[in-house]
Each structure stands twice: as C-alpha cells, then as structure tokens.
Amino acid sequence: MTSGPGAAREVNLMPLIIVSADDFSQGREIAHRVAGVLGYRYVGRDLLASVAEQHQVSQEELVQALEDPPGFLTRRSRRQRLLAFIEEGCLQQLQDDGVVCYGLAGHLYVRGIAHALKVRIITEVGQWAQAIAESEGVPLERAQKVVERRKEEQKRWSQDAYNLDQSDPSLYDMVLSLDTLEPDKAVEIICDTAGYRKFQAMTYSRKLMQDKALASRVRVELMKSFPDIKVEANDGTVVAYLQSLKKDQRKKQEAVRQLAGGIEGVRHVEVHVIRDYFGQAAQSSR
C-alpha cells in the first residue's frame, strides 16, 4: 500500500433522487431546483426525444403513454411497449449516481434500490383546484372536479401500467405535502435527506440497477415478438417469463433464447413458460 498526502477522504457516492408528483408542473419545478442545489444531473421529459428517435416513435405518443388514462385511444399492448422504451432509456440514465429524475415514472421501476431516494410531492385538491381556477379562468367547483378526476386517472394509470397504486405512500421514502410546506422548504428537506448515509450508492444497489437496466433492454427487444413477456436479470443471467400454448412452447423458448442471447451483457438465458390456459381452452373448443 502506498500512502499519499490528503489521506482519509471519503469516496463520494451520491444517491439517485426520484421525484414524482400529482401536480406535474409543481413537481418538475421542485425536482429542477433540487438538482440545481445539489449539482446533480436532471433527467426528465427531455429524455423522450432520444427515446423517440431510438425506437422510431413520436415523442407525443410517449407523453401520452405516460399521461393518458387506460383505455384512452392507445391500445394497452402498444402503451406497454412505449412505456418499456421509456423505462429502458431512463434506467440507462440512472446507472450514474447523482441524478434527479422526474416525469418518467421512475418511481414505479426503481423499487428495491437502496440508493434511490423516492419522493412524492402531493397537493391537496383545494390548492391545486385554486391554481387551475386562476390559470384557466374556470369556476372553483369545476376546477375541483377536474383535479379529482386527474387524481383518479393517475391512480388508474399506475395500476394498469405497473400494477401499483402510485398514491400509496409505502412506495416512497418521503411524501411531502405542498399544503403544509412551501416549495422552498420541500427543496431543502429533499436536499438534506439526500445527504443521509443510508441513501448512499453501494455495490449491491448499483448492481441491482445494472440488472434492471439489462432486463429492460432485453424486454424491449423481446416485446417485438412477445408483447406480454416479463424479464428479470441477475449478473448477466436473464430469466424470461412468457405465456404459451403447450404445442408452441419449445419453439417460443428457443426463439427467446436466440433473441436474448444476442444482446450485449447477456451471458445466459432461462425461459419459463406460463401455460396459456385461456388460449388452450379457446383452441380446444374450436
């Protein structure tokens, strides 16, 4: 071991800060300011331009996938695919420490990551409705109905897309209400909390992030042929779960192995088949 001057410096292992909010513009402002105060990189909706280009889809369609309630124009399978593109792009960005992420539904796919500080900004109906009534010049009562509907749509959106209720506080490390806190205070609290040692990046949580990024990359590739496929990854081993009729099982397993095996970072592929009983029943009744 060679000792040098200025010894005993801590290696800086900055967390990820994943902000989400029920009032999009207020949440964005707070997330931006947190990034500025801490000197972290901000990853937000701007990312959608490169995601759109990479996958040859329109940016508008990606925004709709993030915002529109289920059953609103876009087919569910199409929307899941668009969300998978966003997830892949976002997870790629979150491989670095010291990032503030907002507006990409990151809070729904970084669960279990120890160095991701997940913050939810909530605004009660009254305050939010007041803002809408003032900005859009509509009566307060009507604005309140708009807000209530938006909150309900957001809940249905997350349940449909990720099988999670994003209004559930247990998904977050911290829930801040703008009814009781000024935005300045919210920024201060988030910045202070980011300094807690428990949110520092570590080998374990970084590896989980790498695994999530690989799984999302493989899923995007496999979804072209298998729209409902689910994928997990662990240190280069990929486990894919797909539905299949018994007669197609081997063919599909082989196809998944071929496709996934060619993706960078994949060392081994396992394919688990979930028997498609509904499809089976439909076939046998023909």
Binding site: S3, A8, A114, F199, M202, T203
Partner: protein, 139 residues
C-alpha cells in the same frame, strides 16, 4: 508496521475465507481470516485494521454488531458488509451505521478487490492491480 493494507476477513463459512484470502493477497493485502466473530472481535480489540470485511448473518454475534464495534473502536477503518440475505432495508441500515460498502453474495473475488481498492483510496492509498490482472490473464 507493514505498508500493505491490513484486512480482517470474518465469515462463518470457511470456504469464503479460503477463497478470498489468496485473491486479496494478490493485490498486496495482508489478510487475517476468522470464522468465529468473538475471536475476530478479540483480535480487533488489540489491533486496528485498515479494512474489515464481515458477513452479516452469523450465530451469536452478527455483522451489524461487528460494524458498530469497529466504528466505535477504530473510526478510521473501513467496514465492508457481505451477505447472502441482501435486501434494501438491511443495506440502508448498514450504510447508516457507517459501513463503507455493502455487497450481496455470491460475488466474484474481483468485485471485492475493486471495493477494497476504493477503501484504500478513501484511506489515502492506492492498490496495485497489476498482479491480479496478470493472474487473471494467465487463467
């Protein structure tokens, strides 16, 4: 005192010490291996180690207690936690209590070497990976 990085490795599974000791020796670490946490604590009461690598789940004394002991007795030492039962809450608890890093088992010896190198850097030192790289290249 030697210039080499002094490492204490504690894991109640003998295979872990047998496998990791030579891997760390290759990058110039002087490694003492313990399977019994009480013996490890007694040794650490006598001597400061630059780096302590400890399993978490062990009988009688667990890794969190080892971490607390080291943080109190030798605040300069870097403690690396390793466990086969990794989960977010445990990882955060370890970091909050002052762990330098947290690694889930199974891991490759090279993964630990990289973390040890980071610990050495945090202590103001550098580790020469040359020997380990040559060894890897030779298979």
């Amino acid at each position: 005192m030697s210039d080499n990085l002094q490492v204490l490795l504690l894991d109640d599974e003998p295979i872990v010490g047998r496998r990791l000791k030579p891997a760390l020796a290759k990058i110039g670490c002087e490694v003492e291996v313990f399977e019994d946490p009480e013996e490890a604590l007694a040794r650490m009461a006598q001597q400061e180690f630059d780096v302590v690598v400890t399993d978490i789940r062990m009988d009688q004394i667990d890794g969190m207690q080892v971490l607390e002991f080291v943080r109190e007795r030798w605040p300069r030492s870097k403690v690396i936690m390793i466990t086969g039962y990794a989960m977010m809450s445990l990882a955060r608890e370890a970091m909050e209590k002052g762990a330098f890093d947290f690694i889930a088992k199974p891991f490759k010896p090279d993964d630990l070497r990289k973390v040890i190198a980071k610990a050495a850097k945090a202590l103001g030192s550098e580790i020469d990976f040359g020997a380990a790289e040559v060894d890897k290249a030779n298979g």
